[in-house]
Symmetry: C2
Amino acid sequence: MITVVKIGGNVIDNASALSGFLDVFSKLEGPKMLVHGGGKLATRLSAQMGVKTKMVEGRRVTDKKTLDIVTMVYAGLTNKNIVAALSARGVKAVGLSGADANVIPATKRAPNPIDFGYVGDINPAEVNTDFIKTLLDADIVPVFCALTHDSHGSLLNSNADSVASAVAIATSHISATRLVFCFEKPGVLLDVEDDNSVIPIINRSKYAELRAKNLIFEGMLPKIDGAFKAIDNGVKEVIIKCADSLLCNTGTTIQE
Amino acid sequence: MITVVKIGGNVIDNASALSGFLDVFSKLEGPKMLVHGGGKLATRLSAQMGVKTKMVEGRRVTDKKTLDIVTMVYAGLTNKNIVAALSARGVKAVGLSGADANVIPATKRAPNPIDFGYVGDINPAEVNTDFIKTLLDADIVPVFCALTHDSHGSLLNSNADSVASAVAIATSHISATRLVFCFEKPGVLLDVEDDNSVIPIINRSKYAELRAKNLIFEGMLPKIDGAFKAIDNGVKEVIIKCADSLLCNTGTTIQE
């Protein structure tokens, strides 16, 4: 079973949380991949460089200067420091953007109705699975930042959840693959105020039931919809859990 | 024959020279690797971020903030844009620092007599040749920036010529390897003012003769000494030439 783990900006931004996560990630058995989000460093660097950060509907508008900044931060500082930290823990990690071996081609989003600039949407069928297989067969752990490639020489800024889903869907054609989304809560909660109210398993009928009763927090719906989309495309299961309990049998498992 | 090509900051800093070089590099036949220097962007970014660039004996002192900056620029912006540009030219390029698969371990230089900070010296015998072989066997073209790894989680700033020599020495144990240093002149010149005075071949006896007659420009001596050191350690030949004539049978060949 291949495991794809995605960590978000909240883990990246906290050095001690990140170190703790990398401790457990390095102990995770079997072939594995890591996908990391961006964190706040790109926004801080933009401010230092006098480049305005423009957000529309909660998403970063990526003009050329911003693309250069996220390339420096995501593919450079964040990615290579994670790789070095994993390497120090005995993991043969290799940091990748979507341009490396053209592993994650993407299509620049159309400028209408909103021009997000250098933002790319991924078609999982185009992921270079052969390259990922070459790495996994050599016991290498690919570490992806959320930059993709337009196949014509330009990097594109993509959503880290989408990168994680795309590589998991791609590797599900090689071997059974599970996708783990780590976030700040211990799983999908029945009561957002109660960390002990984790729903252990959500399958389609349970999901329909929970939705009918309005028991799922609205912000969680796109994550679960995305999880079922990954499952529809070959991923065996999707787990939503807290980063520091990666090795524990906790969290919410979403399955067929 | 494996070819390792090193390009310096003068090519990196000039978008049109870089694009032209990548055109010819993409056409170079056989297994190949690229090593790139830094260029002036790191110095410009340091200035924008209010980090003072300190040079001692012409070398950059790399404190923690400077290490972060060179990681962003060398491993992020420069490396990934080269990779994307090669990818667009049909080359399966993969960008690497020395931390990726711990491919180039290095030792942090002792702080005496001069404390250069996070600067690493490479022992070519420690290069992860198995990993490079895995990539070359899969028709992948590794693209190295001049960052290495202390094997304990910290990146180190290294000399790009040394990185190129180290990987060439390492791969010479897999297959015959030649090392090409691209710089702004067409080769080693008998008369530095005359680009048509390239010395085509320098072997040890020719080198001794040229030195005895004081016919080699002083700045070239360390490059040629380094070339003979690479040859002593297994590299078949070292070629010193101009970046845009990579495919031509020109330049100075240094051989046993």
